[in-house]
């Protein structure tokens, strides 16, 4: 920390020593090869500490200087020019530097490489692609924009954990999230706790801390070759974020200001029935408060008769259709960023301050983020020092509880019979503070937002210091230290007087988490050596990665003094600590050969040692090689082809697992039994002392071409990725005494195609239309599961109802949804029992896949003078979803389909157990012609609710994901008020669902409850919102 400060001091003190005295003021204009004025050109005076930059028209003024002084004009990508001062005017024309025209991208270990030399796929997008519409999690803004990248809009709230998967899942059950690297610092993106179908609060991941306004570019390294130098953490690809560098205009520091306001509006996807309400006695509306206390919608017709509500008030028995609209608010997100930056030949700095304030659509729920980001680069002779520092404070209040049942306000709303006015449940508690509700085992949604308290905060510092010393002009030494540290705290309590949790006297959970991720890296490199036609770059290095986490969890239940919600006030206190520590040491090297600037070969190798694996089997060496052939430079091609490159690569990456998986461990209970300590097996996972590192191997072929001077182009990749010896945690039979086991198992394969098409159909003077389209197809297969699984499928998740599981099966796609199907005869007809109820199978059968395999992003950018319009359509296919909301609404009678036969009874279409046509007519509300012994229509639908097959829906969709209309204010206007640039945009997100399966009622196709691998289960999640607002960006 001290060294950071020291460096900062150096950086700022140097910047403040600009002006000096002399005799001559030189003025002039710097133009480029086309004659256009060049803003931002650095001008220095040899031997003097005097610097200027050109203004936005290319004009400059520097002085005082003396005749014969040498002015140096430099600009990235242009050949620097030295001009001897001969008078008061010096106009300069800079020529582009052929060598520097190279498009440079940041690759692994933050080494800049010329893009055309890369033998693997790297996709970069500009920061403006992610900061025009600002939501708390940056991942939202990547959806549909990068081929091969699957962004899951997990339905867990605005600041919840998001899911991003590159080229399909590479691990069967482990982490499939890519490594995020910000300015060279690998950051900790792991979730702080997310729900599964059984319910919970999603505490978000490490990505809410990124401020989109600080981002210059995002590069996605998709394959293993691209990531091999990051080692095991990169086995799922790497997302490299480069933050903005400092810039000066007119020799002055620049000030940028960005402000964005986004409104969130609930999209009510529910379409429940509003013809029948709560059950009373017989076919009457509830006549007592007891009858009005029910979550069943199997009652009487909603026809305005008087009915008694749960609270004893008599109201007409009418439908209340806008409960969702009245319960939720309009949410909003206000983001402001101000940054100051400057640069000269020696120093470059940028500091930004940002603030995000989100008000959720859920009453009383908020998320705030405040951040400071600092980045400096300084040159001291042969030493270059880069320092970056990011400090963010995040605070969330009342993140929603999703999944599960009790405590989930969405559950409460979904169950609410059509005759109940949600506002009759206000404020959620009685005068004595105790919760009341409309039915047994269902929380009052207002109690959930008014009395249940949930708050969390995170203070996070990420920083890196990178020192590079050029020993000679071809030999360098680079050392780097990075650290990502956060301290997160959270507190959640449910007061005493709640109705339906396990602890009527209340419960509290507090957790304090501290997390450290540190990297220390040293590289010795050789650069730009020419041996004949061969260019050579080479480096070797070592890295030490350490991850540590301490959690103190203080929970308990039953508040002694009512109204005091502290740990000390609990009757039962259950503190638990959890400490985790792991290290990975690595040694690596890279050799890059360039032949004639059109043929490039890159070979890398890395050896990792993992602390988490058995000592005798804890390391693995893995190589990578990639080849890039720029055939448009090698051969003379027709003029129409402006660029062409073929690339091929193959690589391996290994990986480990979380710590302490090798041996059985024993815990002591929190409470002793008198003087007896109590000790028991402290893990529900069967540990494994024979674990090996996993190995992922891939190869990739790609072709990139531009035509007609870049008017049309494409980039296509084919990849194949296999993972072997994956470290899998699978559910095992409870009769083992455990719940899960960890083992090396199986082989999985992903192969796919990624396609980027871009073009500029129209380009006239003022009008330009750009089209860009990304398409991804990933096919995925579990090749073998290996001997360890003993024919038992690998179980990844279970729905709350238990009706559906997500599991892996040999020969099938990753992440299958399995559950009960209807029992059918050979002709496929449903079999009914003597009571007229459909029968179902007794074994879980394959139903569908929960992971999308095809994705399409289609964007159009129109610019007309100062106006710009951007639209993005995002589409995904090939996944299904099991909707527990719909299954529940069959059971409780809220689903519209349950209206069929409700009054007049029905006969299920199919056969009876002896094979004849089923003729059993069920009992409806009013029919008298039912078969003797027949069940009721209600029982029929309740039976159907157990048949998972019925609630599997195609989750394909096409959404209008993003629209922004921007206006750039004319400079002539702005210069009068001293503003350099100003842009105003109207933005919108998730504006429309252009297509979805029409059978999928009540829920959105993107409604997965979990952000992990268990995709394809929906249960009473956070609803979809439509977002619209505006953004203003100003530069001074």
């Amino acid at each position: 920390m001290r060294s950071f400060l020291l460096l900062l001091c150096c950086a700022f003190s140097s910047l403040s020593t600009f002006a000096q005295s002399g005799t001559l003021q030189v003025k002039g204009k710097v133009i480029d090869e086309t004659g256009t004025g060049m803003p931002g050109v650095n001008i220095s005076v040899k031997g003097k500490k005097l610097f200027r930059t050109t203004d936005n028209l290319g004009a400059y003024s520097i002085g005082p200087v003396q005749e014969r002084d040498v002015l140096v004009f430099s600009y990235t990508g242009y050949v620097s020019k030295e001009v001897i001062v001969t008078g008061a005017v010096a106009d300069v024309k800079l020529a582009p530097d052929a060598n520097n025209l190279k498009e440079v991208v940041v690759t692994a270990l933050n080494i800049n490489r010329e893009k055309k030399s890369l033998g693997y796929s790297v996709t970069s997008i500009d920061g403006s692609m992610v900061n025009s519409v600002q939501t708390p999690n940056i991942v939202n803004a990547l959806s549909g924009k990068i081929a091969g990248v699957d962004v899951g809009n997990i339905a867990n709230g605005v600041a919840g954990t998001k899911r991003i998967v590159i080229r399909g899942g590479s691990s069967l059950t482990g982490n499939n999230q890519p490594l995020w690297v910000v300015d060279g610092t690998p950051i900790n993106t792991e979730t702080l706790g997310g729900p599964d179908a059984f319910g919970g609060v999603d505490y978000g991941d490490g990505l809410t801390g990124l401020n989109p306004d600080d981002i210059e570019t995002i590069s996605v390294l998709k394959g293993n070759a691209a990531a091999a130098l990051y080692g095991s953490l990169a086995s799922n690809g790497v997302i490299l974020v480069t933050t903005k560098k400092g810039k000066s205009i007119n020799g002055k520091a620049t000030v940028d200001f960005s402000s964005s306001m986004l409104f969130d509006k609930l999209v009510n996807t529910t379409d429940f029935q509003f013809e029948y309400g709560q059950s009373g006695t017989g076919n009457e509306p509830p006549a007592t408060p007891e009858e009005g206390f029910s979550s069943s919608s199997w009652g009487a017709k909603l026809d305005g008769r008087p009915s008694v509500r749960f609270d004893g008030v008599t109201v007409p028995f009418n439908a209340v259709k806008d409960n969702y609209e009245r319960f939720f608010n309009t949410g909003n997100t206000l983001t402001n960023t101000v940054s100051i930056s400057g640069s000269n030949n020696i120093h470059n700095y940028r500091i930004s301050l940002s603030d995000l304030r989100n008000e959720d659509i859920i009453p009383n729920a908020k998320f705030n983020r405040t951040g400071v980001n600092l980045k400096t680069t300084s040159k001291f002779g042969r030493l270059t020092a880069d320092v970056s520092l990011n400090y963010t404070v995040e605070k969330a209040k009342n993140r929603p509880f999703i999944g599960g049942n009790v405590s989930n306000l969405f559950y409460s709303l979904a169950y609410m019979p059509g005759n109940i006015d949600v506002e009759s449940l206000k404020p959620g508690y009685n005068a004595d503070g105790n919760e009341f509700s409309y039915a047994n085992s269902i929380s009052n949604p207002y109690y959930a937002v008014n009395k249940v308290s949930q708050s969390d905060n995170k203070d996070r510092v990420t920083g890196s210091i990178n020192l590079k010393y050029d020993i000679t002009n071809w030999l360098y030494l680079r050392g780097r230290a990075t650290r990502d540290y956060y301290a997160a705290g959270r507190s959640r309590y449910i007061p005493g007087g709640n109705q339906f949790t396990s602890y009527p006297l209340g419960q509290l959970e507090e957790a304090a988490t501290k997390s450290w991720v540190s990297n220390y890296e040293l590289i010795l490199g050789v650069k730009d050596i020419k041996i004949g036609d061969l260019g050579l770059n080479f480096f070797v290095g070592g890295n030490n990665l350490e991850r540590k986490r301490d959690i103190v969890n203080t929970s308990g239940n039953s508040f002694v003094v009512p109204g005091v919600y502290t740990f000390n006030n609990l009757a039962t206190k259950l503190p638990v600590t959890s400490k985790s520590w792991q290290k990975t040491n690595s040694f690596f090297g890279s050799l890059e050969l360039a032949y004639h600037n059109y043929l490039y070969l890159n070979v890398t190798g890395r050896n990792d040692w993992f602390s988490t694996l058995p000592m005798d089997n804890n390391n693995l060496f893995y190589p990578a090689a990639s080849l890039s052939f720029v055939f448009s430079d090698a051969f003379k091609l027709p003029a129409a082809i402006s660029f062409g490159k073929l690339r091929a690569s193959t690589a391996q990456v290994s990986g480990d697992t979380s710590p302490y998986q090798l041996d059985l461990s024993y815990s002591l209970t929190q409470v002793a039994y008198g003087s007896n300590n109590l000790q028991y097996i402290g893990t529900t996972n069967i540990s494994n002392s024979k674990l090996q590192p996993l190995l992922s191997t891939d190869y990739e072929l790609g072709l990139e071409m531009d035509f007609l001077k870049g008017r049309v182009g494409f980039d296509v990749s084919y990849y194949n990725k296999q993972i072997k010896n994956d470290i899998v945690r699978t559910a095992v039979s409870r009769s083992t005494g455990f719940r899960t086991a960890i083992l090396n198992v199986g082989k999985m394969e992903n192969q796919g195609i990624e396609l980027l098409l871009k073009g500029t159909p129209v380009k006239t003077g003022k009008f330009q239309w750009d089209v860009s389209s990304t398409f991804t197809k990933n096919s995925n297969k579990v090749v073998t599961l290996g001997p360890g699984a003993e024919n038992a499928p690998i179980l990844m998740a279970t729905a709350k109802s238990g009706e559906v599981i997500i599991q892996l099966e040999e020969g099938k796609r990753y992440g299958g949804i399995y559950g009960y199907k209807y029992k059918r005869n050979e002709a496929g007809q449903i079999v009914y029992n003597a009571q007229g109820l459909p029968q179902y199978t007794t074994k879980n059968e394959f139903l569908a896949n929960g992971v999308y395999d095809k994705m399409l992003g289609f964007s159009n950018t129109f610019s007309f003078g100062n106006f710009g319009l951007f639209t993005l359509v995002d589409a995904k296919w090939g996944a299904s979803i099991y909707s527990e909301t719909n299954a529940l609404s069959y059971s409780n009678g809220k689903h519209k389909n349950t209206l069929v036969g409700r009054e007049e009874g029905l006969i299920g279409e199919g056969v009876n157990e002896s094979g004849a046509v089923n003729t059993v007519k069920l009992r409806g509300i009013s029919n008298t012609d039912f078969t003797t012994g027949a069940s009721s229509v209600q029982s029929y639908y309740q039976q159907v609710s157990h048949v998972a097959e019925e609630f599997i829906y195609d989750a394909s969709f096409v959404k209008l994901r993003e629209v922004s209309l921007s206006y750039r204010f004319p400079k002539s206007l702005l210069s009068k008020v001293g503003i350099a640039n100003a842009t105003f945009s109207l933005v919108g997100r998730n504006l429309a669902t252009l297509y979805k399966n029409k059978d999928l009622t009540n829920v959105d196709p993107e409604s997965s409850v979990a952000s992990g691998n268990a995709q394809g289960i929906e249960r009473l999640v956070y609803p979809v919102t439509r977002n619209f607002g505006f953004t203003l960006k100003l530069s001074l």
Binding site: T572, S667, T669, Y680, I686, S935
Partner: protein, 518 residues
């Protein structure tokens, strides 16, 4: 420049060898958890196992087993309770995941140390107790390979036929009893039940053997008789002092798995004062015989929202009919809620406490079983069935003192009860009915045992009095549930379940376990 390259190469090579040799230095220390220990202490393991023999959650017991034996109703219909899945399997989960896996580990570790032979024997007896309860409830279970996920890396344990399980349980009890050795270490502190009293452990093991022997009489009379005789000869429990009784501590409201020091069974009444009621079958039985246990077992609820002391006047107690909400569409609340306060719940000073003790096997049960054996002439001896019966009733009343001052029943009260309800059966049928009715009452809260004994003996015959019920799909016209259904995850995690279903029959409550012959 060439020389430079050479130098660099040499330096790198030196650096490389230096780095490689120490690349995993200290990793063995890094990968040791600071939160846990890797070597257990048998002195700490044993009390934990003894406490966890009781399923601390109420799910299976309160929601299924207690209603099945018609002592408690959760006001759910017979049909609802007989549908497979859900919490039927929770007890399976608890036993395997808590006491069983730990006792298997405990046996394995103490076995390696000859001085701990008494610990091993205790472990083996406890394991038999846990396994018999499981197999009685579910039928075939993974017995030989169960609980060995870590030890043998058996992830899909095979299901074993119940006759093989029973044969091994008898063998285990027999061997464990023989292996006890007073000269070796005695777990005087760790054994929170008998304080290391080997004699009492032997009596408990023999009494368990008697229970198991009687259980299989219909399926295998030869072996049943053999083991009953062996148990009697080996020495059974002789008084309430020999009861296998686990004491629990107060001050915990966790119904979950985190705190084994409290008795989670009473959770059903404490947590849900409005949902569970004692049945009319149970209350009427006590009422009709002026049983002094009425006030020990029952009280009226004080309120619908809080479980507090209500009237314990025996005359005021009233039971809710078992499966009371039987009409298919009747809402939960078909009986006006205020009236619920007129129906009895567990006495909050005796059974309705987190620190209520739990009796796994009692002297009274032994006496009732001896009475039955005598009636059925499985054993012969000078003691009459009547004596055994009366000893049993007296002991059953006396043992309630363990539940606190409100549990105390004087010998005079017991005698008065026996005088008012004398054991004078007209025939063997009536004798067995009387004996097993007492067993039914005595095993209050030990409903796993009540359920097994009801199925075995056919008494009490409350199911005969139920109106014919609409059968739900899958429940093959069973008048009474004959078992619980398996833990639902077994379908997906253990393919070997299918073999058990093939042998035993479908996974329904109507399927009978091996010893349960019609």
């Amino acid at each position: 420049m060439k020389r430079n390259i050479k130098n660099v190469a040499v330096i790198s090579l030196m650096a490389l060898t230096g780095v490689l040799s120490s690349c995993d230095k200290g990793f063995d220390k890094v990968n040791v958890s600071e939160d846990f220990v890797s070597t257990p202490n048998p002195e700490y393991q044993l009390p934990d196992i003894e406490l966890k023999m009781l399923d601390n959650t109420y799910y299976t017991l309160g929601d299924f087993v207690a209603p099945f034996v018609m002592q408690v109703t959760n006001r759910k219909s017979y049909e609802t309770l007989n549908v497979a899945g859900g919490y039927h399997g929770y007890h399976f989960e608890w036993i395997y995941g808590n006491p069983l896996v730990n006792v298997v580990d405990f046996i394995e570790r103490t076995k390696a140390d000859p001085t701990r032979v008494n610990y091993t024997s205790i472990g083996r007896i406890i394991k038999v107790y846990l396994a018999h309860q499981l197999t009685d409830l579910y039928g075939e279970i993974p017995y030989f390979e169960g609980g060995r996920g870590y030890l043998d890396r058996t992830f899909t344990p095979a299901y074993d036929p119940q006759d093989k399980i029973y044969a091994d349980m008898f063998k285990e009890l027999d061997e464990a009893i023989v292996a006890f050795d007073n000269a070796q270490r005695i777990p005087t502190t760790a054994d929170i039940v008998y304080k290391g009293d080997i004699t009492k452990w032997k009596r408990f093991a023999n009494s368990l053997m008697l229970r198991l022997g009687l259980r299989i009489m219909k399926a295998d009379a030869v072996n049943g008789k053999k083991w009953i005789e062996k148990a009697v000869a080996g020495g059974l429990m002789q008084s309430n002092d020999d009861n296998f009784l686990v004491k629990y501590l107060p001050n915990s409201s966790t119904g979950g798995t985190t705190n084994p020091t409290s008795n989670g069974q009473a959770h059903i009444f404490i947590r849900y004062p409005d949902n569970y009621r004692l049945t009319s079958q149970f209350i009427n039985q006590l009422k009709n015989t002026s049983d002094p246990r009425m006030s020990v077992y029952a009280m009226l609820p004080a309120s619908r929202t809080a479980y507090g002391a209500g009237s314990k006047d025996p005359a005021k107690q009233k039971g809710w009919p078992a499966f009371g909400d039987r009409a298919e569409e009747a809402p939960y609340s078909s009986i006006p809620s205020a009236n619920r306060l007129n129906y009895s719940v567990s006495n909050n000073a005796t059974f309705g406490r987190y620190d209520a003790p739990y009796i796994h096997l009692s002297y009274a049960q032994v006496q009732f079983q001896l009475a039955e054996c005598t009636v059925r002439q499985i054993i012969t001896g000078s003691t009459t069935a009547k004596t055994y019966y009366e000893n049993g009733v007296k002991a059953a009343m006396d043992q309630l003192k363990a539940y606190g001052t409100e549990g105390v029943i004087t010998p005079a009260q017991a005698t008065a009860y026996l005088n008012a309800n004398p054991y004078n059966p007209v025939d063997n049928e009536a004798a067995l009915e009387a004996i097993n009715m007492q067993y039914w009452i005595e095993t209050h809260y030990n409903w796993y045992e009540t359920f097994a004994n009801m199925r075995r003996s056919g008494y009490p015959k409350f199911y005969d009095q139920l109106a014919p019920v609409t059968q739900q799909p899958g429940n093959l016209n069973a008048k009474m549930p004959r078992r619980l259904t398996y833990q639902p995850d077994e379908v997906s995690t253990n393919p070997k379940l299918q073999e058990a279903l093939k042998r035993q029959g479908p996974d329904l409550t109507s399927t009978r376990v091996w010893w349960d012959k019609p």
